[in-house]
Structures are given as structure tokens and as C-alpha cells.
Amino acid sequence: MADLRELAAAIEVGDRTSAVRLTSEALQASVKPQEILDAMTDAMGIIGRRFQDGDIFVPEMLIAARAMKEATAILEPVLVEAGIRPEHTAVIGTVEGDLHDIGKNLVGMMLKGAAINVIDLGVNVPAARFVDAAREHGASLIGLSALLTTTMPNMRAVVAAIKAADVNARVMIGGAPTTPEFAKQIGADGFAPDAGAAVDLAKQLLAAG
């Protein structure tokens, strides 16, 4: 008998082997794929909140996200077959001139954990690539990361390019030197101080349309 509570618990503690096994068992037991996905995203929601509360730290969040990713890999074909697709796509990347990726990767993992399709453009991404990718994938969200004070100003160029191209996507930013004030100054829609908060912000922005 498939136990989705057990699956959620496996994801929360980052036990990827059990998460994969329990997902397979749930599928074999004909549990609806949407229910399995919901159990996973609920677990990642708990992880995000615990991270924001300082109850767990980056390593625990990382292994939970990886467990979710590996379990999702076997669920995904079934979801596709059932016509269940992520409602939203996010394009994320570290802005031009900046090669740091850990923060951006964490945000990507957590967004995937919230059942958002993530297109990760990597690091050192020019403004035009954000625009092109957002158009190509029909993104409703764009996430920009920068770790250096010297590259942070490049976020302004990306936001300007997105607006100039009339891309219908909300833009959120994050990274050590960024602030809510800076987000406002450059015309971004929001700022997230960490990967957990990024998911909450993404949900807010997407809900607002």
C-alpha cells in the first residue's frame, strides 16, 4: 500500500532512495499522479518554511530538493501522459559578468519543488538571452541572480530589456548584494533573500498575474 506521508517524509529528510522507491510504489498502486506530485510539493513547502525559520540549513534543503528531483524523474512521464503540465515556467540565470551559481541553483531546485517548470540559463547570461528564453518557453517568471556588487548593476539592463521587449513575465531578483530597494529601483517585481523566500515570492507574483 503506497503511503504518500512516507514519501513526503523521505523527501523532507533528503532520503532519495526511499523517495524514488515510494514514488514507484505509489504509481504501481495506481495513486493519481497529481496526488503524488502534491505530496512532493507539500513536502518541499515544509522544507522551504523550515529553511526560512532557520530550523534547517542549506545542506538539508539541497538533499531534500535532490530527493524530489529524482522522484519527480520517474513521475514526470506519467504526468505528461495524464496531460498534467506545470502551470508556470520560470527562466532563471546569473547575470552577465557573474559566474556564481550556487544561489541560483538553489532557487531553481526550490522552484522545481513547487512544481514550476524551470529553464536554467546558467551563469554569465546576457540580457538578450533572458528575453529570448522567456519568449521561447512562454515564461511567466524570470529570476535574476548576482553575487558581486560589480555585476549587480547588470540586473538593471536585463529588466530594461525585458520591458523593452514587452515580455509578459514577472521579474524577481536575489543574491548577496541585492536588496528590496534595489529591486524597486531597477523596476523588478520583487526581491527574495533566500531560496525558500524565492518560492513564496514566485507564488505571490504568479498569483497576482
Binding site: G14, G54, I56, F57, V58, P59, E60, M61, L62, I63, R66, G97, D98, L99, H100, I102, G103, N105, V123, N124, L148, T149, T150, T151, A176, P177, T179, P193, D194
Partner: protein
């Protein structure tokens, strides 16, 4: 392409100038939480900042901010690569160079970008880490020979065949209090394994990976010990490079840090103190959770106290009192904006933490290329003017 740690000096020998002895007295008093003649000032300068500073101030090509402003101390780095070997050049053209280093890591350095990109790591499983053998930390080549090393050579700049570390120390000794430095496990793991693996393995194999952190810590301790011996009395202090935090908090839980990182830091501090050296820990991000631990194990000074991680040295002074010297915290974002009034307010605010000693004026990380030479010039003048004891700080 010179970088932050190209710090070879202009002097030589073991005689110190009276002004250097005055600087050493200033730094020591400050770290003892006494008011010296004035607040010490130093920093870490990106190579491209130095170029800009020279050009903007019309200074000669060999001008150096440490000498030009007679800054109060300087930090040096020996060869701390796990394997002592020359870089293996994989690709090189006018735009970038890709090398494999003594961390057995492949790094791409694009000359137009400020920081290098770690492309791949040979040590990419915990089993490989457990099998990894470090070259002898006491190997004299680390301290006495020229050669490539990743910490000094691949950063904001790119430099091959770094000069012999001891010769660097000797070249600086007449003019500056000189700090050696040692990377602790977090910095070594970031380069040896990559940050993602480091954090992932902390979560996946907490105890097994923890044992490796302690083993790497032993390597760090022996590096500290060997460099102190190699310097033969020429060092005044030691910096421990040990980033364990980001903007919000520690990367790992404080309990984990206490079990697997703290013992090494404590041992290095004890060792340095046995040799009469001051110890400054360089750890980016918001490390609030471990400041009390640092005080408990006898750390002298904490750097860089990033303002962008919501740290404020005046608030920290209120909370921690004169139990820890604060080195840094001046918001580089304000420096980069370069508005003279805002810069003045920024400097005056940080100097409020200097009442009673225990504060070294520095940026909250390093002086980046977006800071104008004129702004840094203004900052040094402000610190010298308002940082003279007894402090009479005007309202910000």
C-alpha cells in the same frame, strides 16, 4: 594580470622602519581594545581597482595603495594547494585561460570578468575525497620556492609562478606589519570539491564528511605551523580564510560547525598565540551564530563583516562589547556609488565602533573595480582625519 594577492614589497631584510613599528603598535593596541594614536586601516584591493586608482589619481604605474597610504598591515598567502604542481594549461587565448591547478580543479579565468569559474573537480565523490592524499604541508616549496598556486594565482587576476612566499614576507617586513594566512576546511573544500558537493555531502553524509573536514583541518593546522616556522619570526599575525556563511546565516547548522570546523579554528588560534601572532578570521556572510564561539576560542579579530549580510559593526559592538575586534564592515556598495556625502556618512558611522579600540577600518569584503580611485582617496583621508584618538565624531 595582477590580482588581489600580488603583494610583493619594495624592501628587504629584517630591519623595520620606525613608522612600521608605530603601525605594529597601533594594530596591537587596537586588537587589545586600547585606543592607539588612530584607527588602523587596511584592505584587500582588486587588481583592476589598482589600475583604475592609478589612472584616476595620475599615479605612476608602480604606485601601490599599501605604500601610497602607508596602510597599517598587509596579508600574504603561501602555497596552500593540496598538491604542489604547476598549473596545467588546457586552453589559453587573448580572452581566457583554462588551467588545472594543485586542487586538481579545472578553472576558467576570463580576463574580462572579475572572478574565475570552477569548471570541474577531479574529487567529485566522497570516496575520492576519502582517498585523496594531500602533499606534505611542511614541504619547503610551499614557503621557499616560486611556483603556481591557486589561491594567489587565480582570483580577480591571473598570475603564474608566484614569488617565494618567504621572500614576499621579507620584502614587506620593513614597511608593514605582515600577516600570513591559512585556508581552513570550508575554503579548501570549495576549491577541491566545489561548493555544491561540499554542501550536498554535508547533508548526505554528515558524519562521514565531517571526518574529512577534520582531516582537512589537520592539513590546515600543519600549514599554519609550517609557515610560522618558515617565516622565522617575521610574521605579526595570521589570517584564517574560512567562509562558512552567506547573506542570511551559516551555510550549515551551528552545531555541525561546532563539531567539525571549530576545533581546527581553535587549534590554529592557539598555535598562533603561542607564537605571539594576532589572528583575524575572514568569513563572509552573516556569521552571527558563531561570534560567541569565536570569542570563546580566543579569536582576536573578525573580517569582513559584510554590510550586505545585514551586519553593522556599531550594533555588534553594543551586543558583543570589547570581546572581539571588528575588521571591516564598511559598505562597499556605498563606496561604489561614490557619492561624497554618503561616503562621509558611511565612514563616520563605522568609526563609531572604534571608541575604546577594537576596530580596524576596512571595506566589508575587498575594494572592487567599481570603486573610484577618488572615492578610496576620500575614504583614507576621512579615516585619518576622524579616526584619530580621542575620537570626536561629528553627527553623521
Amino acid at each position: 594580470m595582477p590580482g588581489m594577492f600580488e603583494t610583493f614589497g619594495r624592501g628587504g631584510g629584517t630591519e623595520r622602519k620606525p613608522s612600521t613599528l608605530a603601525k605594529l603598535d597601533r594594530v596591537r593596541k587596537t586588537f587589545r581594545h586600547e585606543e592607539a594614536d588612530r584607527v588602523p586601516i587596511s584592505d584587500f584591493f582588486w587588481g583592476k581597482f589598482r589600475d583604475r586608482w592609478r589612472a584616476e589619481l595620475g599615479l605612476p604605474e608602480d604606485a601601490d595603495p599599501y605604500y601610497h597610504y602607508d596602510l597599517d598591515f598587509i596579508v600574504t598567502v603561501p602555497n596552500m594547494d593540496p598538491h604542489i604542481r604547476d598549473f596545467e594549461t588546457i586552453r589559453e587565448d587573448d580572452e581566457e585561460v583554462v588551467v588545472k591547478t594543485g586542487f586538481e580543479t579545472t578553472i576558467r579565468k576570463r580576463f574580462d570578468l572579475p572572478m574565475p569559474e570552477q569548471v570541474s573537480w577531479e574529487t567529485d565523490t566522497i570516496e575520492k575525497l576519502e582517498a585523496f592524499e594531500f602533499d606534505d604541508p611542511k614541504d619547503p616549496r610551499r614557503y621557499l620556492s616560486a611556483g603556481d598556486n591557486q589561491i594567489a594565482g587565480v582570483g580577480d587576476g591571473f598570475e603564474r609562478n608566484s614569488p617565494p612566499w618567504v621572500e614576499t614576507v621579507k620584502s614587506l617586513y620593513p614597511d608593514f606589519p605582515v600577516f600570513g594566512s591559512v585556508t581552513e576546511a570550508s575554503e579548501i573544500c570549495t576549491r577541491l570539491l566545489g561548493q555544491l558537493n561540499t554542501l550536498m555531502w554535508t547533508g548526505e553524509y554528515p558524519e562521514r564528511f565531517g571526518e574529512q573536514l577534520l582531516r582537512i583541518g589537520e592539513f590546515s593546522y600543519e600549514i599554519a605551523k609550517a609557515q610560522i616556522e618558515a617565516a622565522d619570526g617575521l610574521l605579526d599575525g595570521l589570517v584564517i580564510w574560512g567562509d562558512v556563511a552567506y547573506g542570511k546565516s551559516l551555510f550549515m547548522g551551528p552545531t555541525y560547525w561546532r563539531k567539525y570546523y571549530k576545533p581546527t579554528v581553535a587549534r590554529i588560534i592557539e598555535l598562533a598565540h603561542q607564537h605571539g601572532l594576532l589572528v583575524m578570521y575572514h568569513g563572509c556572510g552573516n556569521a552571527n551564530a558563531i561570534f560567541e564561539d569565536m570569542i570563546e576560542i580566543g579569536l582576536d579579530g573578525y573580517n569582513p563583516l559584510e554590510a550586505k549580510a545585514d551586519l553593522d559593526v556599531v550594533t555588534l559592538r553594543e551586543r558583543l562589547g570589547h570581546r572581539l575586534t571588528f575588521c571591516g564592515n564598511s559598505d562597499i556598495r556605498v563606496w561604489e556609488r561614490g557619492d561624497p556625502d554618503e561616503v562621509r556618512r558611511e565612514v563616520l558611522h563605522r568609526l563609531r565602533a572604534a571608541e575604546g579600540g577594537g576596530y580596524v577600518f576596512m571595506s566589508d569584503h575587498s575594494v572592487a573595480s567599481d570603486v573610484s580611485g577618488h572615492t578610496y582617496d576620500q575614504i583614507v583621508k576621512l579615516v585619518r582625519r576622524y579616526g584619530t584618538y580621542p575620537l570626536h565624531l561629528p553627527t553623521e
